[in-house]
Symmetry: C3
Subunit: 206 residues, 3 copies
């Protein structure tokens, strides 16, 4: 079995995932008439939620955002800027919803990657690591929907969590095949993002 220690996803990628999820939550906050403060709370809960649940399940406490302030320092300003910007977009069409979904897809891909890696690094079996990737990728959005008092879209839209699970399975497979770690990360990221984007584009056109 190959070395399963964590492949460093650069700080840039982690911050990007946090930013993407915060942005998606801010747009949803505008759609639900939250004020700026509520939007920030929603964004932080969405961006940190999945990783927090993952850390709690693994017993990794204090959880990640408590020992590294980068995550909060990313989520809070991004959510405020996106909130102010999203309020100015014409509310008529589904444009805001579409942008929300693309941000969300980037977050899904990156968070799935970190979850699977942390699961493997903690000695979990492959199925559990894949599930942890899915939890890290999808629970933030689920918390976002529960706080907005709507049925979580992850439960109604079958090509969301499934893509995260398949992406996680791809990552584990490539690692076991001893593919280059960095290549594995990029292939998995691309696979999740491209698949999810195709699903979004089709649902819009359909």
């Amino acid at each position: 079995m190959p070395d399963l220690t964590i492949i460093p996803i650069t700080l840039f990628l982690s911050a990007l995932a946090t930013a993407a999820m915060s942005a998606s939550a801010s747009i949803q906050a505008v759609r639900h008439d939250f004020d700026a403060f509520g939007a920030t709370v929603l964004a932080v809960a969405t961006a940190m939620g999945g990783g927090t649940v993952r850390d709690l399940l693994l017993g990794r406490t204090p959880v990640f955002w408590m020992t590294d302030l980068t995550y909060l320092a990313t989520a809070i300003p991004v959510s405020l800027v996106v909130y102010l910007w999203a309020r100015r977009i014409d509310a008529g069409g589904g444009r805001r919803h579409r942008i929300l979904m693309y941000f969300d897809a980037v977050g899904l891909a990156l968070f799935t990657l970190t979850g699977v890696q942390l699961g493997l690094a903690a000695g979990m079996s492959a199925p559990i690591a894949i599930i942890l990737g899915c939890i890290t990728g999808t629970f933030g959005g689920m918390i976002r929907d529960i706080l907005c008092n709507v049925t979580p879209s992850v439960l109604k839209e079958d090509l969301y969590a499934t893509i995260s699970l398949l992406g996680g399975a791809l990552f584990v497979s490539l690692r076991y095949l001893e593919v280059d770690p960095l290549l594995t990360v990029w292939l998995t990221f691309a696979a999740i993002l491209v698949t999810r984007t195709i699903v979004i584009v089709r649902s819009i056109r359909g």
Copy 2:
């Protein structure tokens, strides 16, 4: 004080509780028009939810289903089979709801038992062990209802959590009276299941 180490509930009983709760969630998923994937996620969250919260509160991490794949390997196929079957039942009457409640009652009884035992084994006082039994028995259904965006029935139906608490109290009492461990398990199981069934039958007839 008698030996309070865990009385082994056989793998069969644990799997049965997981299967019962998964089945109840799948039926609810059909009632709320979830697709097969959403039904599976809902079933896993329902079947694992109570025990996960219990393990987190006790600090037993990684939580139970992460180190023993039996639970997931039970919940996933059962939820899929029940989902496909429940979709074929005539949706007219309350028949699906009735079946859901009986499955749920079996899960309530078995999960209450495991929660109380793990609480005592972790050195908790009797009241806390009884509450842990209730959390293990009822939180899965509560998570199910929150994800379906309905007020958790456990809060509206007083003879649900109460029966779990009384069952837990019976278990602790029998243990302190040094009744045979296996007899204690079966008496508690029977007491919860019979009481809950009477309540269900009365509410249907009334």
Copy 3:
């Protein structure tokens, strides 16, 4: 840097916070037609929720109410008494809602204090300690609202969590300035309670 070990908030204050939050939940339970048992469950979840999340995030397990029965022994009788009393108040006006908000404000102030202190004592940075104060103060009410199937008011009302965060910041500042510990506690408590009360009174008059 001054000594940041926990300033003992007397048992009286802790019990008072628990009682205040339980009372607010019982009043909300009456407004949502819960029965006495549901009201008790809701009250316990509301009064323990914030501190439980805080303890889980910090890895302080078993969580606080499992090792000290004072909290449950306070929440349960208070919630029952308030439930029975609130059912007798004329449901016409907003009087019940007003009383709920005052109880809630006392809970917010006291729980914020305990959260910030435990955060600092666990070696967290000032921003994280302040956020833990806010989580301890506001998550109970958020859980209460989710269980009642309404959008959490903390997300819609910007002068709720903000006041908790500012109170936490005041506490940390006074501690770093080496102000007398007990004075720090009372100043923070008064600042949160007075500010929140002004906001409530204005919203009622406005």
